[in-house]
């Protein structure tokens, strides 16, 4: 077969965003040898784009905060489908994980007494997000990267993993190719951690980069692991809508946290019109109270713009559908109005939201200190993913671990902003440690040459078809268009049935894709290899969404617009069944133990 290079590590971490880096650092600290693989250059993973901050109940700004309140907020946001053990560990450990970053050089914004400053964010009762202006992700990934490179970790940059290797039930390594030369590489390992991020590229309008093709989800699925909660995709309410080429780029929630308001074409602040019952007690009565909240008044409740993302996104969709949208099919987000409240508002906005200022100025020629932005929903985050054990992060397949966005459980039906960055740190560390322990007891084993041969042959097949096959970009484009239209923010049975038919057709087209050029840094080829992963996750999303005949969190059914208690007792689970067919099941959620039930009750 085509030659390949072999490398061996105790622990192989796939993905070098926040979760992967943190896992690699943790595994290295356990004294095992660690390899870290990523599709891009080091430091460029999605985590770099995160803006608003990392949620941790340190109580630096409001000492009423505690892990218990954070836990209750996370569960409420997730509509109680969360893996409660993960929500508990996350809330308890996030403060230490954030402080640890400071010990590694991170510089967060400060309180007047010199501690880490925390900001308000949707769904969080108290100011909780440690941040650096609106570039928190950069601070986090750079800190982990600069610390990580001195921990003896072997980094394999611009290498894409195509398949996981198994010995019996156990995962024992991975097989992939380097982008630069297109040569194959075999990774033998005692344990593998997946930290591959999300799936946003399955949709046309997204805040996610080309990397987000659901690779980890698909790799785990084909290795026999269960996926969970795949119907829950987060559509962020505020993406850019104009000009067309920037459609989908994120406008951070921080804009609303600093006092930005949503306005329709009639000048109405429509978010006050629809406040869900379970958030009424925590939401401001009027604009004045909302403003005071954003300015740190502890007696004020949050403005309705800071309700959970699923809700805000649907309100925007409603305004647009009912003809009250802005000229380019969004609504207005206005931060400039705070000039009525603050003497030096323009400078204040530039200081608090520097990259938003820059982004709109440069890409849309809009000055956000004097003009409102046009915004609309954009595919942003995948709550669903690989089903893991809450303590160890091991998937349902021995030796295979998952952390970060590609894992499921912490966020339930809807993620609160800021809970992802802290998720990466808490569960990245746990996954790295568990994987190291597992690897010490389970050595890398023999390699199934035939499986490698098959994987290599399949990867090279598009070259054989050459110009006779269809280009991968067209298939990807049609998939994105279809998922956006048929399995987007508002879903219906008939549309999703059509999507399943569409997916079958797209699968056939994907199997006939052809590639020109050679194996060296060939994006056409890379896109062809990403396609099967996108198709796998799209099918998992569609099947799960069809099965959940209710509306909850990120999942909204036009034909079942209400929440249904009968659906609150299980997680939807996807597995690869006999003959390679996708099978769907329902796993009951274990009841909350009394100490956690009490916390939920106290924070109702």
């Amino acid at each position: 077969m085509a030659g390949y290079e072999t490398v061996e590590h105790d622990v192989l971490v796939i993905g070098a965003g926040g979760a992967g880096l943190r896992a690699a650092i943790a595994a290295a600290a356990e004294g095992v040898s660690v390899g870290l693989v990523c599709k891009s250059l080091l430091g460029k993973a999605h985590t770099v784009m995160a803006e608003g901050g990392a949620a941790a109940a340190m109580g630096n700004v409001d000492d009423r905060d505690s892990w218990k309140v954070h836990f209750a907020d996370t569960m409420r946001g997730g509509q109680y489908l969360n893996n409660w053990r993960m929500a508990e560990l996350h809330a308890q450990e996030a403060p230490d994980r954030v402080r640890e970053l400071e010990a590694w050089g991170a510089l967060f914004d400060r309180t007047p007494d010199g501690r880490i400053l925390q900001r308000n964010f949707g769904g969080h009762r108290y100011p909780r997000l440690a941040h650096v202006g609106d570039r928190t992700g950069l601070e986090m990934i750079r800190t982990l990267q600069d610390h990580g490179i001195h921990q003896g970790i072997d980094v394999h940059m611009e290498v894409t993993v195509l398949t996981l290797l198994r010995d019996g039930d156990r995962v024992t390594g991975a097989f992939g190719y380097d982008r630069e030369r297109g040569r194959f590489r075999l990774f033998r390992a005692g344990a593998v951690v997946l930290a591959t991020g999300g799936i946003g590229r399955a949709y046309k309008i997204t805040s996610n980069s080309w990397e987000y093709t659901g690779d980890g989800h698909a790799l785990a699925y084909h290795a026999g692991a269960a996926l969970m909660d795949m119907e829950f995709v987060q559509f962020h309410p505020t993406g850019m809508v104009w000009p067309p080429s920037v459609r989908g780029i994120l406008v951070t929630e921080g804009v609303r946290g600093e006092g930005g308001v949503l306005i329709n074409s009639e000048g109405r602040r429509f978010m006050f019109d629809d406040i869900p019952e379970n958030y009424r007690g925590q939401t401001a009565d009027d604009a004045e109270e909302g403003w005071r909240y954003t300015q740190g008044d502890k007696d004020a409740r949050r403005p309705p713009e800071l309700l959970t993302r699923d809700h805000v996104a649907r309100c925007i969709v409603r305004e647009v559908r009912e003809g009250r949208g802005s000229p380019h099919g969004g609504v207005y987000l206005d931060i400039a109005w705070i000039a009525q409240k603050l003497p030096d508002a323009k400078a204040h906005i530039r200081k608090k939201l520097p990259s938003m200022y820059h982004q709109f100025k440069q890409l849309a020629e809009i000055d956000i200190t004097s003009e409102p932005m046009e915004v609309g929903p954009t595919t942003h985050y995948m709550m669903g993913g690989i089903r893991v054990d809450g303590d160890t992060q091991m998937s349902t397949v021995p030796g295979l671990f998952a952390a970060g966005e590609c894992a499921a459980g912490l966020h339930g039906a809807n993620r609160l902003g800021g809970n992802s960055l802290s998720d990466l740190l808490v569960f990245g560390k746990r996954a790295g440690e568990s994987a190291a322990r597992f690897a010490r007891e389970n050595r890398a084993s023999t390699v199934d040459e035939a499986a490698l041969e098959a994987a290599a042959r399949e990867a090279l097949a598009p070259f054989d078809r050459g110009t006779e096959g269809e280009g991968a970009y067209q298939v990807q484009h049609d998939l994105q268009e279809m998922m956006q239209d048929l399995v987007g923010i508002v879903r219906r049975e008939d549309e999703m049935e059509r999507a399943l038919e569409g997916l079958a057709a797209l699968n056939e087209r994907a199997a006939r894709v052809g590639v020109t050029g050679n194996r060296e840094y060939n994006p056409g080829w890379h896109t062809a290899l990403d396609l099967p992963n996108l198709l796998t996750v799209s099918e998992a999303i569609t099947r799960s969404a069809l099965d959940r005949k209710e509306s909850r969190g990120g999942h909204f059914r036009d034909d079942f617009p209400e929440k249904d208690a009968a659906f609150s007792t299980f997680n939807t689970v996807i597995r690869k069944g006999e003959g390679g067919r996708m099978e769907l099941g329902r796993e009951p959620i274990p009841p909350l133990p009394p100490h956690l039930a009490q916390i939920v009750e106290e924070n109702r």
Binding site: L41, G43, E180, G267, W337, L363, A472
Partner: protein, 287 residues
């Protein structure tokens, strides 16, 4: 002063209300003009080839002003040359992947709008020159990652508080945050003549890593000493303050004035000013 409209007061008011809508409509009209979605034709003269060699190839396509150069490259990739190699991730100026030379200027492709270029002439798009070529617009920037490892890592002072945390003043943090904004696009490395023309990669770490060194040296918690390294291993003396790096930095970091010159001063103080050196020794600290 009235707040934006409320549930109880639905009449449009100032600020976030009707005024915002009017301003928004104005802005939308303005950005329509600026981004005139009316398609026009433009030619992109893109360098294609690999380490062995290559040349400029013309691609003609329909574009609009609202597009950025990276959009045009993607369109070429999708429609005319599937295998055109380019790096990108965020498409929002945050990851520093898409560096190239556009009409000879080192820039991020995702932050260069077509509206600011003269489209009556072909737009040239070439890979960075200071690094070995891999394919088309992709260069081998691995040297930057290796060179970074040669900088001594962050070493914090003991925590200030019993709970293991530190107290820092926002002003001290602000100074260093300027350097931490760096997105590692390596455009400054690309433009610096010491690397680009004189190929001193073995002796000089380049402006990006001098920014990193400045970040570490001015970090409020750091206790490490990098001054000797700066002079010897990192070759700070090669920099003759041409400020080309500062001009191209997409993050607006004042590389020369705020990072390199203060570092040079430290080196000079230490090595050529016996008095300063003595004072430093007596105080036992670096600043």
């Amino acid at each position: 002063m009235s707040a934006p409209e409320t549930r109880t007061a639905p009449a449009p008011t100032a600020g976030g209300g009707m005024a915002a809508v009017e301003a928004g409509a104005r802005a939308a009209a303005k950005s329509d003009r600026a981004t005139s979605s009316a398609a026009k034709t433009a030619t992109f003269r893109v360098w294609r080839g690999d380490a062995a060699g290559g040349g400029l190839v013309d691609f003609t396509l329909q574009v609009s002003d609202g597009m950025v150069v990276l959009d045009a490259i993607h369109q070429i990739q999708a429609e005319q040359a599937n295998d055109l190699a380019v790096r990108w991730n965020c498409k929002a100026g945050k990851c520093g992947s898409c560096s190239a030379e556009i009409n000879g200027m080192p820039r991020l492709m995702c932050m260069t709008r077509l509206g600011e270029l003269d489209l009556s002439q072909p737009v040239t798009v070439e890979p960075m020159r200071a690094f070995p070529r891999i394919r088309d617009l992709v260069t081998d920037v691995s040297w930057n990652f290796a060179a970074k490892k040669s900088l001594k890592p962050f070493k914090p002072r003991a925590p200030d508080a019993p709970d293991g945390t530190w107290r820092m003043d926002q002003r001290d943090v602000d100074r260093v945050q300027e350097f931490r904004k760096c997105i590692e696009c390596f455009l400054c490395q690309d433009v610096c003549h010491v690397l680009r023309d004189h190929h001193k990669h073995d002796e000089f770490v380049g402006p990006r890593l001098l920014v990193q060194a400045a970040m570490l040296e001015m970090h409020p918690l750091d206790t490490e000493d990098r001054v000797d390294d700066l002079r010897r291993a990192h070759g700070i003396g090669y920099c003759n303050i041409t400020k080309c790096c500062t001009k191209v930095c997409p993050e607006g970091i004042t590389i020369t004035d705020n990072a390199i010159i203060p570092l040079k001063e430290r080196v000079v103080d230490r090595h050529f000013d016996p008095l300063a050196k003595l004072v430093q020794l007596v105080r036992g600290r670096k600043r």
